[in-house]
């Protein structure tokens, strides 16, 4: 029992050290980081005018795809929050690059698990991001508060937070799985580009997925990318409620678990294929 506790304590100490180093690394260019975050909201302005023009042009319908004009803007703002959790810039490409360059062998010869290290590193990146980005996010949401009908009730808020946390896990393990393909194909940049395009379109980053006509609408609501942006935003706005909400959260958990297993399996078989030469 004491040995188990000691082992766990030593693992935690390692994890804490990794997390701390990664946080310090990320904080080097914090000014550039905060400015970049604030500027990322600039497209919200054009989106507001674009969708206002769409609603006016359509003769002022109350909703398009179940969203009013104000809800469209609120939706876009919320996808920024969702993507702050789910987007993993450079994760897959860095795994593939480390496989290609042979750098990955440092994880194979040292007592550090690659996925755990990357997960902690990404967590550090996100923690720093939230610390620096909270102020610009709060400013933009305050300025745009008129587009929201107010805070949702506590259960909806809890479901929103849960979906955000799962979107982080799903985003991480999905990209990690793609990166692991690097064990089989040395050059995966084109594959990653295709993924990025699909992600942009089918995650709901460009528009609420329910504005698509059938059968596209039904199809896209079955795929995992929707949980990276569309689903959390729709949950916050109360567009997914009751049994549909429970089903959605279960679906998100199932996809997350599937990609955890996929990433682990790909790594297990990948490192057995891997061969490194030279010092």
């Amino acid at each position: 029992m004491t040995a188990v506790v000691a082992d766990l304590a030593s693992r935690c100490a390692v994890w804490w050290t990794i997390l701390r180093i990664c946080i310090e690394e990320r904080l080097v260019y914090r000014g550039d980081f905060a400015l970049g975050t604030l500027m990322r909201f600039l497209p919200i302005i054009t989106q507001t005018f674009l969708w206002t023009a769409v609603f006016v042009g359509a003769g002022g319908p109350s909703t398009i795809g179940g969203y009013s004009r104000d809800e469209f803007i609120a939706y876009y703002l919320l996808t920024y929050v969702a993507r702050a959790f789910s987007s993993m810039p450079g994760l897959a490409s860095s795994i593939a690059a480390q496989v290609r360059s042979g750098e990955i062998k440092k994880y194979l010869v040292q007592p550090i698990d690659l996925l755990t290290f990357l997960f902690l590193s990404r967590m550090a990146h996100k923690l720093v991001y939230y610390a620096v980005a909270t102020a610009p996010f709060a400013l933009v949401f305050y300025l745009c508060r008129g587009y929201f009908e107010g805070w949702p009730d506590a259960p909806t808020l809890a479901a929103f937070v849960l979906s955000l946390l799962m979107s982080f896990l799903l985003g991480f393990f999905l990209e990690a799985t793609l990166g692991m393909i690097g064990f089989w194909f040395l050059e995966v940049s084109s594959l990653l580009f295709v993924y990025m395009l699909f992600n942009f379109f089918f995650s709901g980053h460009m528009f609420p997925l329910t504005i698509l006509s059938e059968p596209w609408r039904t199809i896209v609501l079955y795929q995992p990318l929707q949980y990276l942006a569309y689903f959390p935003a729709a949950v916050f706005l109360g567009k997914v409620q009751g049994p549909a909400l429970v089903e959605g959260l279960i679906g998100q958990a199932a996809w997350t678990l599937a990609f955890v297993i996929a990433a682990r399996t790909a790594m297990y078989y990948g490192v057995r294929r891997y061969s490194a030469f030279g010092g």
Partner: protein
């Protein structure tokens, strides 16, 4: 003795093409990549025009006029990307590493050298797509532009390129003072995002000042709006005024950005030992 600028320009183009053709597979992938982004944009607008006949009320920007606008935006942006983008991206690195010294020592105009060293040939895939989109869209319009409008369209596309290039070189100049300017290039991307929509959508107490600012102070709304109007419908008197202003603004922007660039170069302190 002055170098033959046209011969140097031709050599830059040839060298870039030779480099791209050395990795043909990569070149094709680059073409497919840039086209995919365009298809995504087109996809978004196809979805939008499933829900509305036009953008705004009485603006005239229905499906096909808007696709003329989209093709125009594509022309301007692809040409900027073709001629300048790679070079401007590298400018920041040249300054940070001190390699700008080598450009300054060459017996040729520094702005010319730094702006046009490498051409991004894969961007021409978007130009071809823009031409097809434009032809298809014009085919669906009842209005037929005159040959003069066609000629002016090309002139104002070039004005649009000049305006965006001036903004780019101005931001590049700022990197001489700042050293690191990744956010500034993001800024370029986000600011030019405003130019991708018809100016009529910027309406209301916040939209109107924004439209005026991006028309007169930083005239990026003129980049695509002026040439697109030339082909989308018969030109009206206020459009001529806007076109005249766009022509003057692009000349002023070119001169002002060049002055700023040389002022920045005067402040350059080499980073090498």
């Amino acid at each position: 003795m002055h170098p033959n600028y046209f011969a140097v320009f031709r050599e830059f183009a040839r060298n870039s093409l030779v480099r791209e053709m050395t990795f043909r597979g990569n070149f094709l992938l680059d073409c497919v990549s840039s086209l995919s982004w365009v298809f995504m944009q087109l996809g978004l607008y196809l979805v939008i025009f499933e829900h509305t006949d036009q953008l705004g009320s009485g603006t005239g920007w229905g499906r096909w006029p808007f696709f003329v606008f989209l093709a125009t935006t594509l022309f301007v942006n692809s040409l900027v990307q073709f001629f300048f983008m790679t070079n401007m991206e590298e400018l920041s690195d040249l300054i940070r590493t001190g390699n700008l010294d080598f450009a300054l020592l060459k017996p040729i105009d520094t702005q010319f050298l730094l702006s046009l060293r490498k051409f991004e040939w894969s961007s021409l895939a978007n130009v071809v797509f823009a031409a097809i989109l434009l032809a298809v869209s014009l085919g669906h319009l009842e209005f037929r532009p005159t040959p003069l409008q066609g000629v002016l369209y090309v002139v104002f596309i070039l004005c649009g390129v000049a305006l965006l290039y001036s903004l780019m070189i101005a931001l590049g100049s700022v990197s001489v003072w700042l050293g690191r300017n990744e956010s500034l290039y993001d800024f370029w991307f986000y600011i030019t995002n405003f130019s991708r929509y018809p100016m009529e959508i910027y309406e209301g107490p916040f939209g109107t000042p924004l439209r005026l600012a991006f028309t007169f102070a930083v005239p990026i709304l003129l980049v695509a709006n002026v040439p697109a109007r030339l082909l989308a419908w018969p030109f009206e008197s206020q459009d001529w005024r806007l076109a005249g202003y766009a022509f003057v603004a692009s000349l002023v922007a070119l001169v002002a950005s060049r002055k700023l660039f040389y002022k920045a170069l005067a402040a350059y302190r080499s980073a090498s030992s």
